[in-house]
């Protein structure tokens, strides 16, 4: 009996909405846009932060990444044609970092170059990474075929190369992969393994293997290609001497990441007379990204609350008008035997129907917007279960909260007065 009363109340609530279609629609509009924008904003925020977080996680939460950078003064002086700018991390830096810190588990030096590679008629530019076997442990790369660089390759300086999946497909085409010989800048390298490709960037942090195609032993890289790189900038050739482009350091546990990073920074300061390196800690970035996300959510949440509040007030306003308009109806219902409680329930359910229908329309809009954003702007968006259910619950809650006062007003109508009411 109770059950059927509620469903009949819902039905009559819907009927009352249909009775004043335009008015109901306009009343709902505030909530529709409130709910819609909440979902849209949450999904855009969620999409952005999720992408940032996965990128940062990829860098490893115990890792510290030290990169070579060109200091500002060099940047301006290096425009001269013959100038050779020397900067960045050195082999010595790598050795010192590896030896000096007890809490460092392992390190990997990284040398990054762009070289032409060739297999028969197929030719392409590769990003060649000279590194040590530790690299593969640090970046947790999945091996698809063959093997990764080993200590023997390192010691014997054998010209072997590990390719990423992407590069492999392009260069080797359909030929069997392992054991093939490719020419990199005219030097023969034997392909010994294939690892999975990964790409992407997190904010200003480039993932080292973002577009990497070939890994070779660092000793081989040094021997074959040297430390001097020429690159074209603004039509002029600039020659740079960089020993190591990056050093990746892995701490033994996350608690030590911060202190190791500081110690490395201090040490580098001692040996470099200019700031031609930067130390970044993915863990700190992760924490920062999470804090940013929290702030973002709080701000969005507040905006959402305001828009939902405005929607709720609109609904309350119309319900108060409805109570006044229907005073006589309330009087009739009371005279027939409706209790105050039943009048309250009737009006609250009508308000909840109004707000929930608004909520559903809002969800429709809120789900559509992120899809359009992703489609047209290419921005990642994530619609989570909570981002839909939460606004729906909130809009139902608004129906109850903002419907309560009009409903109580309705229940307080004196049937004797109401029946006289014209």
């Amino acid at each position: 009996m109770k059950q059927s009363n509620i469903s009949r109340n819902i039905l009559s609530g819907i009927e009352n909405l249909m009775l004043h279609k335009l008015r109901s629609f306009l009343t709902m509009l505030g909530l529709v846009f409130g709910v819609g924008s909440v979902i849209a904003m949450l999904s855009v925020g969620e999409g952005a932060s999720k992408e940032a977080l996965t990128q940062i996680r990829k860098l490893g939460s115990t890792n510290i990444i030290i990169s070579s950078i060109k200091s500002a003064e060099q940047e301006s002086s290096s425009t001269s044609r013959s100038f050779l700018s020397i900067f960045g991390l050195t082999y010595e830096d790598h050795a010192r970092i590896t030896e000096s810190f007890r809490n460092v588990r392992q390190t990997a030096p990284v040398k990054i170059m762009r070289k032409d590679a060739r297999l028969r008629e197929r030719e392409m530019e590769l990003r060649v990474v000279g590194t040590t076997p530790e690299w593969f442990d640090l970046v947790q790369r999945e091996v698809i075929a063959g093997r990764i660089l080993g200590w023997v390759d390192q010691q014997r300086q054998t010209p072997v190369v590990v390719l990423t999946e992407f590069g492999t497909r392009k260069l080797l085409a359909t030929e069997s992969t392992i054991g093939q010989t490719v020419l990199i800048s005219g030097n023969q390298f034997e392909v010994i393994g294939i690892v999975k490709s990964e790409s992407g960037a997190a904010g200003n942090i480039q993932v080292p293997d973002q577009e990497v195609d070939a890994y070779i032993s660092i000793e081989v890289a040094k021997g074959y290609f040297g430390d001097i790189f020429a690159k074209a900038t603004d039509g002029a050739w600039i020659r740079e001497k960089v020993e190591l482009h990056q050093i990746i350091v892995q701490a033994d546990k996350t608690e030590n990441v911060e202190s190791i990073a500081n110690a490395i920074e201090e040490m580098l300061q001692k040996f470099h007379n200019k700031k031609d390196y930067s130390v970044s800690v993915p863990l700190a970035l992760l924490k920062q990204a999470e804090a940013t996300k929290r702030t973002f959510n709080i701000v969005l949440g507040s905006i959402a609350c305001i828009s939902l509040l405005v929607g709720g007030i609109g609904i309350m306003n119309i319900m108060l008008a409805s109570v006044t308009e229907r005073t006589r109806e309330i009087g009739i219902r009371r005279a027939i035997g409706a209790k105050r409680k039943q009048i309250i329930i009737q009006f609250i359910i009508e308000t909840v129907v109004l707000s929930t229908v608004g909520g559903f329309i809002g969800i429709g809009i809120g789900v559509l917007i992120p899809v359009l954003i992703t489609y047209f702007a290419g921005m990642p968006t994530v619609i989570t279960f909570q981002s839909i259910v939460l606004p729906l619950l909130i809009s139902a809650g608004i129906g109850i909260a903002f419907g309560l006062y009009p409903a109580i007003r309705a229940a307080q109508v004196d049937p004797i007065v109401a029946l006289r009411h014209e």
Partner: protein
């Protein structure tokens, strides 16, 4: 009167007003809308309450209809003293024991005829199939079976009042309270409505009706004349005034 006869006649009393007073506080002044009403209505009687404007008819009807309470005194409805009941209990009494017929019909405009008739059943918790059957049955009784899906606005005054009567009968009440039921109708239609009420009275319903028209009051078996909040005189076939 023997003791047995007394008991017999008492069981037949459906409404008893015992020294009922209604006082309105107007600022510092007290207005006695009803001053010491003593009367009993028998089950199955048909009363017309008459009197000049301001004599207390509406106040009396409100109290009889459990919409209002005496300031002092007692109202015994079907043997139960209802004079001090709370709002919920009075609602319950209206729902189960009373049927209202108003001068201005008081149908709910957005509901169809059927839904208007079903309204008391809805509050009684009937399921929709049962309610629909009962509504059809009642519509037939007031000769409106073809109008169930219409809205009140589409009906004539007489038809609206018949819908109101059907609604008042839905909960099968012992007592029908009619406040100037023909006041908004032309004479011919008014007479049809009165015939319907007489029919219902013949079927056993107790009817209490307010009217100021003598020819309408003539349909009732008893007439109660009010003056200045008091019972002025009573006439008719049978009555039980104390």
């Amino acid at each position: 009167m023997s003791r047995q006869e007394l008991t017999q006649s008492q069981t037949e009393i459906i409404v008893k007003l015992d020294n009922g007073r209604k006082v309105y506080q107007m600022g510092t002044q007290q207005v006695a809308a009803l001053g010491g009403i003593n009367i009993s209505f028998k089950k199955g009687s048909f009363w017309a309450i008459m009197g000049p404007s301001g004599s207390g008819k509406s106040t009396m009807m409100n109290i009889l209809g459990c919409l209002d309470r005496f300031t002092t005194g007692h109202y015994i409805l079907e043997g139960q003293d209802v004079s001090t009941l709370d709002d919920d209990s009075l609602s319950e009494l209206r729902l189960r024991h009373l049927g209202f017929i108003f001068q201005s019909f008081n149908l709910i405009p957005q509901l169809t005829v059927q839904r208007n008739i079903e309204l008391p059943l809805y509050y009684l918790g009937w399921d929709s199939a049962q309610s629909a059957n009962r509504a059809k049955e009642l519509a037939k009784k007031v000769k409106l079976e073809g109008r169930l899906d219409h809205h009140p606005m589409e009906l004539s005054g007489g038809e609206m009042q018949r819908v109101a009567i059907a609604r008042a009968l839905a909960n099968d009440p012992q007592i029908l309270l009619a406040d100037e039921p023909t006041g908004n109708l032309d004479t011919a239609t008014g007479n049809q409505i009165m015939d319907l009420l007489v029919d219902l009275n013949n079927q056993g319903k107790t009817i209490i009706m307010v009217t100021h028209e003598l020819d309408i009051a003539a349909y009732a078996k008893n007439r109660l004349h009010m003056k200045d909040g008091k019972i002025d005189k009573i006439d008719g076939d049978t009555h039980e005034a104390i």
